[in-house]
């Protein structure tokens, strides 16, 4: 670009940059992909995430023990005989009951990832549709729908969820239900905001003019255009869901034995902290932290790449 004598040249540059990008005739997704892969932290996060997922899915193959089997050969002396070692086959040591910690961390990572992804998925589907409908219809409907979201958001849901878990019994299904119930609220606000800026574009007008039904417009024309921002916040929702599940499991109200999750393992590790068996805390905590960091970095990278607002 030619040098300007104008002191506002910088601002002009900023304004014109996106225009130039479009002129090159590349798709917006290709642009986004390039921006994403230029972000080192995000790429590292993606690689870590790949390994964590592989660990959760295939880690059980190299385990020498079942996650539920108590190793009686340790004679109950977990602190002495149960420490991490390759020879005994307990790569991460054993937990306080003598079960192989490696197998349990694999299982816990799998459960935590699953809760995170399923929770985020539920939130994305419900939240996007709700927000898109509210935003598209506008007027009174929008008012009522978003006011309901406001009302629900101001309730401390963790307490209600624990009340539900106590009353209906603790199960993975209740956990999913509870997490799904809460997580869609933020999503619906984001989707609505984005819908408001899309719905007055020409292509929506054209669709209305050709007599497309509102629901079809929302599904065919609005939702695909929300995808970028939805993907970003879905990626950032997953770690939140993992934290959420771990929070409840840490209190002992979440995933129940014999199944486990990273939160439950951290809880057990914490309880044994005084006994000199720190590996029981360290391994689950390590996997918990790298998973969260990876998701945050990937989410941030995606936001820089896809969110038009934050650039």
């Amino acid at each position: 670009m030619a040098k300007h004598a104008n002191p506002d040249a910088d601002i002009l540059d900023e304004v014109q940059e996106p225009v130039n990008e479009q002129v090159k005739g590349r798709s917006l997704w290709a642009d986004a992909r390039d921006r994403f892969f230029k972000n080192k932290a995000a790429v590292v996060g993606l690689i870590v995430l790949f390994f964590v997922t592989a660990f959760a899915i295939f880690g059980g193959l190299i385990s020498q023990y079942e996650p539920q089997t108590v190793d009686f050969s340790l004679m109950g002396a977990m602190a002495v005989n149960g420490s991490p070692s390759i020879e005994t086959g307990h790569y991460f040591g054993v937990d306080f009951e003598g079960r192989d910690l490696y197998a349990r961390v694999v299982q816990g990572t799998r459960v935590s990832l699953m809760v995170g992804v399923v929770g985020a998925l539920v939130a994305v589907v419900v939240g996007t549709l709700y927000g898109a409908i509210a935003g598209y219809l506008g007027g009174k409907t929008d008012d009522v729908m978003m006011r309901l979201v406001d009302v629900l958001m101001s309730i401390p849901f963790m307490f209600v969820l624990i009340l539900m878990l106590v009353i209906f019994g603790q199960s993975i299904f209740m956990l999913f239900l509870g997490i799904g119930l809460i997580a869609w609220l933020d999503m619906s606000r984001i989707a609505r905001g984005q819908t408001l800026s899309i719905k007055n574009k020409e292509f929506v007008e054209a669709a209305i003019a050709t007599g497309v039904r509102p629901l079809t417009i929302i599904l065919r024309h609005i939702v695909p255009n929300l995808l970028g921002i939805v993907i970003v916040y879905a990626t950032l929702l997953v770690p939140q869901m993992i934290i959420f599940e771990s929070f409840i499991s840490y209190l002992g109200l979440g995933v129940q034995e014999p199944s486990t999750s990273l939160g439950a393992l951290i809880r057990q590790g914490t309880q044994q902290m005084n006994n000199g068996t720190l590996w029981m805390l360290a391994y689950p905590l390590f996997f918990f932290l790298i998973t969260l960091f990876a998701f945050f970095f990937v989410g941030d990278g995606l936001r820089d790449a896809l969110d038009p607002k934050d650039r």
Partner: protein
Amino acid sequence: MYVYIIRRLAVAIPTILILVAISFALMYSAPGGPFNSERPLPAQVMANIEAKYGLDRPVIVQMADYVWGVVTRFDFGPSFQYTDRTVNDVIAQGFPVTLTYGAWSALAAVVVGVSLGIAAALRHNSVLDYFAVGVTIGAQALPNFVMAPILVLIFTLWLGWLPGGGWYGGDWEYVVMPVIALSTSYMASIARITRSSMLEVMNSNFIRTARAKGLPMHRVVMRHAIKPTLLPVISYMGPAFVGMITGSVVIDIAFSTGGIGQFFVNSAFNRDYSVIMGITVLVGMLTITFNLLVDILYAWLDPKIRY
């Protein structure tokens, strides 16, 4: 302004009622009554107990009575597990503790978070800025139930500086770790919000004008920049409050501080429905009230919002 406050109140009060209704409906739909046990009680005894707690009346009457009790007398009813105490006793015992470390945490989060955010924004792209950004990203992945064991590990088991739990009337050494564990992630969020908001404000025209007329930097910041910078922070206070009061449950468990969180979880294990519900309703009322105050404060501070 007054119209706005009244309109917000008109939303807040039904919200509280909805919360009570949801909690009550959940409790009522629980399989088995609160006094069902492995060995069934004789019918006569059961009838007496139900009459004592008013469980033999129609649901609507029970609910109306509960709401009436909460609203007029601030009475959350008796505990279903312990005949010698009421839900109010539990709250009176636990709430001051929660309030003490909660208030300190909120203060620490706001003061440190805002200072860090402003400093980072003023020294944009400096070492300090990178440090602040690094800390905020790190703290994001350290929720309070991870912070708590790590703090105990370092300060109690390795260094032996601080006691690993307990309360003892709130001596400072028993308060430090709960406050750090509870406030860190909110501190980070506040720092992040302040930083990005400050960066935006410092690039705006009125700041350029203030700089152009020759004001020294500190006056520009204190007189012009700080108020618009803090607006997003204030609107974040609502969610932060919910997060902190939820987090206090973990703090109570991790440090055995004896706040309401501890009673809450114990009651969850004991199936003491009335205590769980009482605490849920109390926390809900606090949250809604706090949100109301935040909204009013925001509307009062932000000249762009006029109702």
